[in-house]
């Protein structure tokens, strides 16, 4: 399995190179550049700046320079934030995004496994109906609406209590973290819940569960040692896409809740055509997702012996 993971990482590197190249040329194809501002700039100043940032060089040369620096792990200096290195931006702000993302993923995954299992257990009865109604609502309402509603509710709650119980926005301890994480994870949780329910129903009706019951297994033993593991398989395969969805969803949630994560800088950079920041964050996110997908594959192999063995040999 580990050779398999290594191969996946290798092909991931190619993917990242492709992403980097595509982003590089797409970015340069957009009219304007980081120096295009509202304020007029004298041609002399502009030329000087262009020279300083290397924008006067031919595009292919710029590309070569960029690739060379990227391999050294250096993404250069931001155009719009004076003297800030892109690496520093990532180092300072990614942990915030990661914290938010991981919390959201945990909430989504654990919530989905619980909700899906309960719904399957009570198939057709009120807990199932209620949960599935909530799932449809959570899937069909966009994340930013849920975020706004959540903020409204918090404000009302705080007003009612006369003291700020839950912060409406900002970043700090756990109290700042859980509402945005819940909002971010909600859609994913809903989607995974439905998957978990279907998969749990299938497992429950399978012959091996009947056979396990014929051995005398029931209740929690049956659930932990036979139902859960099998039912998790299709859900775990969906974790890769789920992580991607949470990463991109994080951009919006960070903006709404004023969280100083990397997503906000990424969105800003795109708006301002901050070449180095765009390239840096894109490549970084690309690498992050590739690693996550491989991690999910490994997790899948750990749960399903069939995969583990077929890939390992």
């Amino acid at each position: 399995m580990w050779t398999f993971a290594f191969k996946r990482l290798l092909s991931g590197a190619v993917t990242i190179w492709f992403i980097a190249t595509a982003t590089f040329f797409a970015m340069h194809a957009v009219p304007g550049d980081p120096l295009t501002r509202d304020k007029a700039m004298s041609p002399a100043v502009r030329a000087q700046l262009e020279q300083r940032y290397g924008l006067d060089k031919p595009l292919v040369t710029q590309y070569r320079l960029f690739l060379g620096n990227m391999l050294k792990g250096d993404f250069g200096i931001s155009f719009t934030q004076e003297n800030r290195r892109v690496n520093d931006i990532i180092r300072e702000h990614f942990p915030v995004s990661a914290m938010l993302g991981i919390t959201a993923l945990l909430i989504a995954f654990i919530g989905a496994v619980a909700a899906g299992s309960i719904a399957a257990q009570f198939r057709g009865q009120w807990p199932d109906r209620l949960l599935m109604m909530a799932v449809v609502a959570a899937i069909s309402v966009p994340g930013f609406v849920i975020a706004a509603v959540a903020q409204l509710l918090i404000v009302q709650l705080n007003n009612r209590l006369g003291q700020p119980l839950i912060p409406v926005a900002g970043w700090g301890g756990f109290s700042h973290l859980w509402v945005p994480a819940l909002v971010l994870g909600l859609g994913t949780m809903a989607y995974l819940s439905r998957l978990m329910r279907a998969s749990m129903l299938e497992v429950t009706n399978s012959e091996y569960i009947l056979a396990a019951r014929a051995k005398g297994a029931y209740g929690w033993r049956l659930f932990w040692s036979h139902q859960l593991r099998n039912a998790l398989l299709p859900v775990v395969t969906e974790l890769g896409p789920a992580i991607a969805a949470l990463t991109t969803g994080g951009f919006v949630v960070e903006l709404i809740f004023a969280i100083p994560g990397l997503g906000r800088y990424f969105v800003q950079a795109v708006q301002q055509l901050d070449y180095t920041v765009i390239m840096g964050t894109t490549v970084f996110y690309g690498a992050f997702l590739v690693i996550m997908v491989v991690a999910v594959d490994i997790a899948y192999g750990l749960i399903d012996p069939r995969i583990r063995y077929s890939r390992g040999r």
Partner: protein
């Protein structure tokens, strides 16, 4: 004394007018070491009968019985915690397809060890050790290594041995085997049958062997129960069942079953009884087989009870006292004419 007595078992799956009356009167007993074959066309309720012995019916099923007794223990009609202590312990089951009846994500060693942890309170390590012994007993070579393997790494025959090991781990008194050889190659079928036979001889395990392979029945069964449309229509010792067609009368359905088997030793599946079994959502009020029966009479519109005679039980009006008297008179008349 019998290990198991079942009287007038009834199972209804689902609710309302479209519920399936899958079992509509099954009575039989199992003595120690008895090998009873339960035969009948597919859909006749054999599996449901087997599952109801373990209280493992589909959800929304209702089970009723006049008597349901395991040795001295009268079993409740409804779901009850009592069943859990019996399943895999005193009563165990082997399923038709070992490929789908084993958990794909668990080592086979654990799957065999599990009932020992549940019912005997063994530690995981002790149970694992017992599992390896069981595997060796069932002639699985390299048991120590194989116990660590997963079901997908085994062949079908090997998996059926694993399933048997799993079922007999707690030394059950009664083993229900639901077509355990149907999904296997012919050679493997013989091995599995040999294992089951050895089990009842060495341990006195009673076996309810569900099959539609009459060849198997002829070879090793002690007694046969024939099911049709949810009912036992005939049962008795295996000798009278197979010789019945020449010396004694058999139930018309049993006759049809036997006639449909081209060669008993070939063990081919049943085929070629004209017509369809009745829809068990709306079972006929009279005899279930009447619509397909070549010896149908007027009275067959009424449901026959299970008549008893020296050869066993028969659910057919031809065993009614009046009809038997009539038949014997006919015989005498015919005998007189011959003189």
């Amino acid at each position: 004394m019998n290990l198991l007595n079942v009287e007038n078992l009834q199972v209804e799956i689902g609710r309302g007018p479209n519920s399936v009356k899958a079992v509509r009167g099954v009575s039989f007993s199992l003595a120690e070491g008895e090998f009873r074959a339960l035969v009948g066309e597919s859909g006749s309720g054999k599996s449901i009968t087997g599952l109801s012995l373990l209280d493992l019916l589909p959800s929304k099923s209702v089970r009723r019985a006049d008597r349901f007794q395991l040795e001295n223990l009268a079993l409740p009609n409804q779901h009850h915690g009592q069943w859990r202590k019996l399943r895999g312990n005193r009563l165990a089951m082997i399923f038709q397809n070992p490929m789908t009846a084993l958990d794909p994500t668990q080592k086979v060693g654990w799957q065999i060890a599990e009932p020992l942890c549940i019912h005997r309170g063994l530690s995981r390590r002790q149970a694992w050790q017992r599992a390896i012994e069981l595997m060796e007993r069932l002639a699985i070579t390299d048991a120590e290594k194989r116990a660590h393997r997963y079901p997908f790494e085994f062949s079908g025959g090997m998996l059926q041995r694993v399933m048997i090991a799993m079922a007999i781990a707690c030394e059950p008194q009664i083993l229900i085997a639901d077509e355990p050889t149907t999904a296997l190659d012919v050679g493997v079928q013989q091995e599995v049958l040999g294992l089951l036979n050895e089990l009842r001889e060495s341990r006195g395990t009673a076996i309810l062997f569900i099959t539609h392979d009459l060849g198997v029945v002829a070879k090793i069964a002690d007694s046969v129960s024939v099911m049709y449309a949810g009912q036992v229509v005939e049962q008795g010792p295996v000798e009278t069942f197979f010789t019945g067609s020449t010396t004694k009368e058999l139930h018309p359905y049993s006759k049809a079953l036997l006639a449909a088997v081209p060669d008993l030793s070939g063990g081919k599946p049943l085929q070629g009884i004209a017509g369809q079994p009745p829809d068990l959502r709306r079972p006929p009020s009279g005899c279930g087989f009447a619509a397909r029966c070549s010896q149908r009479m007027e009275i067959c519109d009424q449901a026959p009870e299970l008549f008893h005679d020296a050869n066993g039980d028969h659910r057919c009006w031809r065993w009614h006292e009046a009809f038997q008297t009539y038949l014997s008179q006919q015989g005498q008349v015919r005998g007189a004419q011959h003189d």
